[in-house]
Symmetry: C2
Subunit: 169 residues, 2 copies
DNA sequence: CATAACATGTTATAACATAACACTATCAGT
DNA sequence: ACTGATAGTGTTATGTTATAACATGTTATG
């Protein structure tokens, strides 16, 4: 497995930052492969392809965009294909859904359970998955008045620095 | 305007609690009327009806459910009717969208700008809009690494006490 | 009353998602 | 290897959510 490049002190993640994506991509594939192996799950060509499509550009993709990509790569491209694989990958935490965009994105922090939070630029539509703890979002209190929270959706929409600089020029 | 019944110390809001809904309903209509008056906006019969439909049961409703209700009340029930009015009411903060349900709900805390957070029971589909400050969610830091956050989506899905008690019987 | 703006109505279609069933591959136990 | 069970993929059809584009009506203003 390739060596990790840690970036301390940053709160947004690699999506808005430069990074060595070759390493990033390989690491991600490694991680998912190992996870599937350990859990005795099948990392089939279809599942691999969907994950690759998603992590390729760290971009949120709609199910139908994924289907097109699958079609181009010789897989079936009828809707259930994508939705089933996406559901599966989401169950295991390797893909998240961005509710505000009806789109799916590869997880940036796999291998440890987490409640993801997303920062979404409404101009360039780039999305960063941020770690709650680092982000200054203290999304505390999983228990609200005895309500048992099982899942959280946290999305922050706005404008990223690149886009806001571009606008003021 | 009807007198307010304040409930201190509670973290979930009226949806999961008993409350005098007659007063609640009238208050809500008063507030939206006053707001529209002050801002010189038209509180048309259609807009009023949509808001009434939503606040009637504090229940999240899909756009097409709202359309049905509109149809029953003699209004047109083609999709753009609902979506336009909902967009308008959302712009002014009287309605929120629950992304996890593709549904719309009347605001529980109008008259002051806020970033709503929602507690959603996946069994009974009741939804409570909680106040960030009271809920123990401190959803702090609107600025993440210079990203200018304009809007937040916070939804917590789980099981409410009523449903979880019912399940264990 | 002209006219600009806002609001509503209508038709068509786009975009997102699932149901139901058929077929194939993989794996365990015989 | 045969058998049945489970999991994965393929296919068709349909359901659900949302918007585009344009027509008509309504209201405020000069
Ligand atoms: Zn990368
Ligand atoms: Zn993640
Ligand atoms: Zn009420
Ligand atoms: Zn609200």
């Amino acid at each position: 497995m390739a060596k990790k490049k840690k970036r301390e002190g940053k709160t947004t993640s690699k999506i808005f930052d430069d990074h060595d994506h070759g390493i990033c991509f390989d690491d991600a594939i490694d991680q998912i492969e190992n996870y599937f192996l350990k859990k005795n799950l099948q990392f089939t060509p279809l599942r691999r392809k969907v994950f690759e499509i998603l992590i390729r550009d760290h971009k949120p993709l709609g199910a139908y965009e994924i289907l097109e990509a699958l079609g181009r790569d010789g897989f079936s491209s009828s809707p259930p294909i994508a939705y089933r694989v996406l559901d599966f990958l989401m169950e295991h935490g390797f893909v998240h859904k961005i509710q505000g965009l009806n789109a799916f994105i590869a997880c940036s922090h796999p291998n440890h359970s987490h409640s993801p939070a997303f920062v979404i630029c409404r101009k360039c539509e780039k999305v960063a998955e941020v770690d709650e703890k680092k982000s200054g979002i203290s999304f505390a209190s999983p228990n609200i008045d005895n309500f048992e929270v099982e899942k959280t959706t946290v999305e922050m929409t706005g404008v990223c620095t690149t886009c806001s600089r571009a606008a003021t020029i």
